[in-house]
């Protein structure tokens, strides 16, 4: 079983559209009925908008804890505020309350309170779901807006996906990753077999691709690069290819700018299904054909 994670650094370069196209294309070839999908972008989970899955089960996700003051026993000394480094304890007219959004869950105030009036309360901050989609099982999650621990939730999604893939002897897990290079990205990439970085030839895309590649390499995961909207700024596309060649990273695809991708999103379909002969669809099919051998090869 191999895990392919789709990343980008910069957001909005087309990770989810590529993932959806791969899911569709995989269902047509040697991996038909042998793939499983995971959406690891838990605070902007969009893969299900394209796959329109049927949900089989949903479990609450318990994230961190927040401190809560018991008003009945609080003596309003303010000691709690003095130890909080997150500006989460707010005094109004001699009464102290805790801002659950600012609270980091460190419990320093709990141990400081002379009357034991503060307790930690576990928070349900999202949900983790297992679904069936037209291209295979989907593991996905939603983090409630503004919550912490997105990395922990990503790890949970990936573990559940991996377990089902092993149980059902599915050959490939395709993971739609989050943007950036931080906690959820690290949770999405660590232990993956291959990363495909979807970038765009813009100054921002190039800058963020470099940081994303460093992150992927930091975790020892082999990388491939594909350039989306490649014709918008050809000089940028050449810079990316030269950069990647110098580092020995294969550039495996160039997808042209094509508004069909947005139309497919509105229709709730993979672009390769929505209009197979659109320029973007043809490029995505060629891209998949170049990625597929990396997933079929026996582990080195």
């Amino acid at each position: 079983m191999k895990q392919l994670v789709i990343l980008s650094g910069k957001g909005g370069t087309g990770k989810t559209s590529v993932t959806a196209a791969f899911a569709h294309l995989a269902s047509q070839g040697p991996l038909a009925d042998r793939i499983l999908l995971a959406d690891a972008d838990v605070d902007a989970a969009n893969l299900e908008l394209v796959l329109q899955p049927r949900r089989l089960d949903t479990q609450p996700f318990r994230g961190g804890q927040v401190a809560v003051i018991n008003e009945d026993t609080c003596v309003h000394c303010g000691d709690c505020e003095s130890v909080c480094r997150f500006d989460a304890i707010i005094e109004t007219d001699g009464r102290w309350t805790i801002d659950p959004i600012a609270c980091d869950g460190c419990a320093a105030c709990v141990y400081q309170c002379p009357t034991d009036s503060i307790a930690m309360q576990e928070q349900t901050v999202g949900e983790c779901a297992r679904s069936d989609s037209r291209y295979g099982p989907l593991h996905h999650a939603h983090l409630s807006p503004g919550q912490e621990n997105s990395g922990k939730l990503v790890t949970q999604v990936r573990q559940r996906a991996r377990q089902q893939a092993l149980d059902e002897q599915r050959q490939v897990v395709i993971v739609d990753g989050p943007p950036g290079i931080g906690c959820p990205v690290i949770a999405a990439v660590s232990g993956a077999d291959l990363a495909l970085l979807v970038t765009e030839p813009t100054v921002s895309g190039i800058h963020d691709l470099r940081r994303a590649l460093q992150t992927v390499q930091h975790f020892g995961v082999p990388a491939l690069v594909c350039i989306n909207k490649a014709d918008v700024y050809p000089a940028g596309a050449r810079e990316i290819e030269a950069d990647c060649a110098a580092q020995g990273i294969p550039t495996v695809g160039r997808i042209p700018f094509d508004l069909t991708v947005a139309s497919a999103m509105v229709a709730g379909e993979a672009v390769t299904l929505y209009r197979p002969d659109a320029p973007a669809s043809l490029a995505l099919s060629a891209l998949w054909a170049r990625v597929l051998p990396f997933l079929l090869e026996a582990p080195a």
């Binding site: 460190c106 141990y111 983090l143 919550q147 943007p179 290079i181 947005a262």
Partner: protein, 296 residues
Amino acid sequence: MMQIVIASGKGGTGKTTVATSLAQVAAERGAVRFLDCDVEAPNAALFLHPVLETHRDVGIRVPRVDAQACTYCGKCAEVCQFHAIAVVGKKVLVFDDLCHGCGSCTWHCPEQAISEHLAVTGVIDSGTTPEGIAFAQGVMNVGQTMGVPILRELKQWTPATGDAPPSTSLRASGALEIRDAPPGASCPVVETMRGADFALLVTEPTPFGLHDLKQVAAIAHDLGIPAGVVINRDGIGDAAVGTWCADRGLPILLRIPMERRIAEAIASGQTLVDAVPDYRVGFQELLERIVAGVNP
């Protein structure tokens, strides 16, 4: 000082495009401070070209235990919620990567055997742009997981002193702060938005854009921050974003049409108002509406 945060939920909708052009037109009417809060993927400097003269290491204050004073009582490990400190026999182990820098172990050590030192997780670069915009960005080091401590430091940055809390004189002036937020809707976005006077939400009229706009609009609502919407790449996708905004009473303050020449100019590193000066008026009006809305 009025603080405007530019957020989106979905990545790549044009946060930095809007933030940089807004900063340029704002700089024509008064002092502007720009904070690039996307510490994982900071891009605003590529468009505003600040001369970044100052670089300050930032990170988390992690514990160091004085072995002479430590009695291995285990209180530090007991109070730590993040399993960042453990006592094993006559040894105290500290895991810097897990530490949140909360100080709980330091406060609660009965022997006062714990001191703190900075574990560097990133840097704050600062300087001035050619238009005179005071500019600072947080850049998280590759391999690090927590951007929020860097953001907290970044929000404290002032052009005058480099690292002291904002002075009252600057707060009282008519100056403007523009914060370019990261994508998503989790803790770094909340930290960027916290304390802002207005949230400008940049979206695109697609199902992905709308889904993620809802997430970030919910954060603005929970934080009690008034919000308005910019629809970028107007003309692609469908009309659902406009309908949802109307239902929610969220004003659409600007529409930027899908035009290939805009995409090409931004790809090459130009700001929108530099590439298409016709948009200058639109951004000036946008700014006036935000300022008037917040200070009626």
